[in-house]
């Protein structure tokens, strides 16, 4: 503001000075006897244009920055309106690549910078863990209460526990993720209700007393249509009525990126949320609580940690029986939102994606730079004329930079809008995460920064080159028709760079595509085709003991009777997600000091192996004798059998395995079945044992069983009939996640699918940009060589040889780019290696394919300019000069 005021004063002074000058000149003439009117006219003529004198003088001042800017922008806009094609291509190129980059960044951002939307000031939040010598774990509620009473370093200390919950409505029962939270949970996180209110301290006082519930925004919308009068209505959770008191804001997704609760109830409702466990809140030994704290005003993490340690020691002394080995410690809130392993995996993956799409952004910059160079070439007459009319180099430079800045801003703004749209498309790919492609301040800032850098990257060089040209040489070149060879090779070098970068992006896309394919083609060890899966859990509906088993037996019979069902079985888990291990003892094997044997396990019904087509290698499947009270048996997978054999030195069949302490009974290995891929698709099979469903006593172990149904047709077609069969057994038990087994397996490769999708788009874009670049440079080259080609044709050169010479030029440029690009791709491959599966980062087939695609595209891109060259009419060509 100050320089501007300053300038106005100087302006006024100059004005006064000039007026005085004119007045004095007139007075002089009049004094010499001239007529006043005549004198005025003469002086005006002599003085010239007042405006121009002022303008020229002002330029000496400098600091016309703002004035010049407006002028530049107006001028640039006019320029673009005159060549809309150029502007459209440039803006689109920038927009698409910025859009893609920003969209991918938004995922990384969701994980890295703003892990939990809707949580206020997460930097002041900490997590508190109990460690009993096995690493940080969940806390005891009784201990938590003591911390609330004693700790001063926290303004709030909140407890919560996520838990599945059954919601029953007229249309049936569904299972949702729920959370029990202390009354100050939302206050701790700084979250306010979207409707109604959150919990009062009184509601979190007496266990089981206040049946109130807060809904997630999503559930409120889907089940209550977002009605405000839903507040106060009743909702049946786990067979008891709860009163709806509030709704969380739309942005709030809980405090964990893996699952977002749909239902919140006070911590005191624990007995109803966990009906089979009874009241646990009053047991100091029960440690199942997550604790989050907000640091008090002025308190540091170190102070809080010291205080936690102090109180932890006090508790150890007061309750040696339960707290003897228990230490409390603080962790960061961010680590609490996602297991560290998952986080780093996804982050590494996200960064690689970012780098690759940045390459595309860079290719786009190169393209626009090339367009600008071409334009600078075409505009040299304009530039030369403006220079000769007195425009300084700096002024011209600024003018050109304004033009590119305008392109960048237009492209960037469109790009960010595109990113909004792209996020919706990418968001449709199910990730094993709550993190979503969200646009926030970080993402918008990233888009802005990318735009700025883009503008500089593609705008600076052409502007310097164009403005640097000398007036005289510029005019001379126009007159003589001479062109500068140097600049042409600059564009050619840019094209080589583009091809090289495209090779890298294309190779990455190819490798991820093949990884995805390999993972999907991977033999899982069972036949997933035609198999429908669903989960069942009657435990929240009051089932226990033998009733559970009866329920499952009835369900098996009911589903088996559905027309089109060829087989049905139960398993305590589906192949796919990692299972828990249990420690085991093997008959005849004395474990070495500190040796701990463990094996994964699942409980399956008779027909499980048959339904999924898992072949029996040795021994037998479960049979009608493997029931409760019969001789205990177990079936191993091949890896498990090898594991036993390696330990004992003898065949696993007939070996004894015990999951109980010393002295407990052994189970006999009666069969060995083929390995089934479990856990993430890349993971090798692990030792696994199967127990017979009929033999395991009923009880808690049967919460949440998976139902696998083999049908003769499309699995989805069975869903309705299976659902009604289960409803006939007990309408209150929810049938959850009804999907084909193929879909379940597909979720395991969601990350690869995302990578392959993003990279396919990126690679397509890179190819398109590189071919556009090649096309532009060749068209330019042909235009420049018009007279030369004309002469050659006039001298009898065959059209074919002309065509060949242009094509060869294109292929030469492409070849150089390919060589450089392949080198880059090989090096970059190392960074990708960890994310690939079944394909080497230097996979020859992929790289060969990339080369072939690029060569093909190069020929296509150069075909039009090459043909144009052959059609040059020598007479016209020579007349041009």
């Amino acid at each position: 503001m100050i320089p501007w005021l300053f300038r106005r004063r100087r302006d006024a002074e100059l004005d006064e000075e000039i007026r005085t000058h004119i007045r004095m000149a007139i007075e002089d003439r009049v004094a010499h006897g001239e007529d006043r009117t005549e004198a005025k006219r003469a002086v005006r003529r002599e003085f010239g244009s007042v405006g121009e004198v002022k303008e020229v003088t002002r330029r000496i001042w400098g600091g016309l920055w703002f004035d010049g800017l407006t002028q530049d922008v107006v001028f640039a806009t006019r320029q673009f309106r005159r060549s809309p094609g150029f502007a459209a291509v440039a803006v689109t190129t920038i927009a698409v690549s910025i859009g893609l980059t920003t969209s991918v960044f938004s995922l990384v951002n969701a994980l890295l910078f703003s892990p939990l939307p809707g949580v206020e000031d997460p930097a002041r939040l900490v997590a508190m863990y109990a460690d009993e010598g096995r690493g940080p774990g969940t806390a005891s509620y009784m201990d938590y209460k003591d911390f609330v009473d004693q700790a001063a370093a926290f303004s709030e200390l909140a407890a919560f526990k996520t838990r599945d919950v059954d919601i029953s409505t007229n249309s049936g029962t569904v299972r949702l993720r729920g959370a029990m939270v202390s009354d100050n949970y939302f206050r701790t996180l700084g979250v306010g209700p979207a409707a109604g209110r959150f919990f009062t301290p009184e509601e979190d006082q007496v266990p089981g007393a206040e049946a109130v519930v807060v809904l997630s925004h999503g559930l409120w919308q889907s089940n209550f249509g977002g009605r405000v009068d839903a507040i106060g209505e009743s909702l049946t959770l786990n067979r008891s009525a709860f009163t709806i008191v509030g709704v969380t804001p739309e942005k709030f997704r809980g405090t964990n990126l893996i699952d977002a609760p749909e239902i919140f109830v006070p911590m005191a409702m624990q007995p109803r949320m966990m009906p089979s466990s009874g009241l646990l809140l009053d047991r100091r030994g029960w440690g199942g609580i997550d604790v989050l704290g907000r640091l008090a005003e002025g308190a540091t993490v170190d102070q809080a940690a010291a205080e936690v340690e102090l109180i932890s020691a006090r508790l150890r002394e007061a309750y040696p029986a339960t707290n003897g080995t228990r230490t409390y410690e603080l962790g960061t809130f961010r680590d609490a939102t996602m297991p560290v392993g998952i986080r780093s995996g996804i982050l590494g993956f996200g960064w690689i994606l970012i780098v690759l799409v940045m390459l595309v952004l860079f290719i786009a910059c190169v393209n626009v730079a090339n367009l600008l160079l071409t334009r600078a070439h075409a505009r040299q007459r304009e530039v030369a004329v403006r220079q000769s009319l007195g425009a300084t180099k700096g002024r011209l430079f600024r003018q050109l930079l304004t033009e590119t800045a305008l392109l960048a801003v237009a492209g960037g703004a469109t790009g960010v809008l595109l990113a909004f749209w792209a996020n919706r498309l990418l968001g449709a790919i199910p990730l094993p995460l709550e993190a979503r492609f969200v646009m926030d301040r970080n993402v918008l800032g990233f888009g802005g920064a990318a735009t700025l850098l883009t503008g500089l990257a593609f705008g600076l060089a052409p502007a310097i080159i164009a403005a640097k040209r000398e007036v005289a040489s510029g005019l001379r070149d126009i007159v003589t028709g001479r062109r500068h060879k140097k600049r042409v090779s600059a564009s050619e070098a840019l094209v080589v760079l583009q091809v090289a970068l495209s090779v890298a992006v294309l190779a990455a896309a190819g490798l991820f595509g093949r990884t995805l394919l390999n993972l999907r083609m991977l033999d899982p060890g069972f036949d997933s085709s035609g198999v429908l899966t669903a989960h069942l859990d009657p435990s929240l509906q009051g089932y226990g003991g033998d009733r559970v088993k009866l329920f499952y037996q009835n369900t098996l019979a009911a589903v088996a009777a559905v027309p089109g069902v060829r087989g049905v079985a139960l398993s305590s888990r589906l192949p796919g997600p990692d299972a828990d291990g249990t420690s085991i003892r093997i008959a005849g094997h004395v474990p070495a000091e500190g040796e701990r044997l463990s094996m994964q396990f699942s409980t399956v019904s008779y027909d499980y192996f048959e339904t999924l087509g898992i072949p029996v290698r040795r021994g037998r499947r479960f049979g009608g004798d493997d029931i409760e009270g019969g001789s205990p048996v177990v079936v191993l997978n091949e890896t498990g059998a090898r594991f036993i054999q390696d330990l004992t030195g003898s065949e696993a069949l007939e070996a004894g395995i015990s999951v109980q302490g010393p002295g407990g009974p052994f189970m006999e290995v009666v069969g060995v079945v083929a390995d089934v891929r479990s856990g993430p698709p890349r993971q090798e099979p692990r030792p696994h044992m199967y127990w017979s469903f009929e033999q395991v006593p009923g009880g808690q172990g049967f919460a949440n069983m998976a139902l696998v149904v083999l049908g003769s047709g499309e699995p989805a077609n069975l869903a309705g009939a299976v659902r009604s069969a289960v409803t006939d057994v007990d309408a209150t038990v929810p049938l959850m996640s009804v999907r084909s087994l193929d879909a379940v397996l597909g979720e395991g490769v969601a990350q690869e699918r995302l990578a392959a999708t993003v990279l396919a788009v990126a690679a397509g874009l890179a190819l398109l940009l590189a071919s556009l670049g090649l096309y532009g440079v060749l068209t330019q080259a042909v235009a420049r060589r018009t007279s030369e080609i004309g002469i050659r044709i006039a001298l009898g050169a065959a059209r074919g040889s002309v065509l060949r010479s242009v094509l060869l030029r294109a292929l030469a440029l492409t070849a150089v780019g390919l060589v450089v690009g392949l080198g880059v791709a090989m090096l970059a491959g190392r960074a990708l290696a960890a994310l690939l599966f079944g394909v080497s980062a230097q996979d020859a087939t992929t790289l060969f394919g990339v080369v072939a695609v690029l060569l093909g595209v190069a020929v296509l891109a150069s075909w039009v300019p090459a043909h144009r060259a052959t059609r040059i009419d020598p007479v016209t060509a020579l007349r041009v000069e």
Binding site: E13, E16, E17, I18, T20, H21, M24, E46, G48, G390
Partner: protein, 120 residues
């Protein structure tokens, strides 16, 4: 006339020359823009007509280089005018410019003077 002269004035030599002329003019004492223009044309017997489009930018340029100082004063005719005055740095610069000009004109004279004094 103004327009025709413009490209020539952009030539380095002439620009420097105008600076020299202005500095030389101001050696006789402070003067305002119009006065400088008048002095230049009268001293050069109207060979040079200081063009206002070059004069004012030149004055601003000299002021920026701190070779002249501009002050607002009231003239004897009661008019508020901006007077330019040579500074110490300006005097030094004038000496530099003068010696350069003298060397230049000597060299020009040598080149233009026919050898041996005979022309044909």
């Amino acid at each position: 006339m103004h327009k025709r002269q413009k490209p020539l004035e952009r030539i380095e030599l002439l620009q420097g020359t105008l600076d020299l002329i202005i500095l030389q003019t101001l050696r006789w004492g402070p003067c305002h823009g119009y006065g400088i223009a008048q002095r230049i044309s009268s001293t050069s017997k109207d060979v040079f007509r200081a063009n206002t489009g070059s004069l004012y930018p030149a004055l601003q340029r000299l002021a920026r280089k701190r070779w002249v100082k501009a002050t607002w004063v009231v003239s004897d005719k009661g008019q508020r005018v901006r007077e330019y005055q040579l500074t110490a740095a300006g005097r030094t610069q004038l000496a530099v410019e003068r010696s350069r000009w003298e060397r230049l004109s000597e060299a020009m004279a040598l080149i233009l003077a026919p050898p041996g004094g005979s022309e044909a």
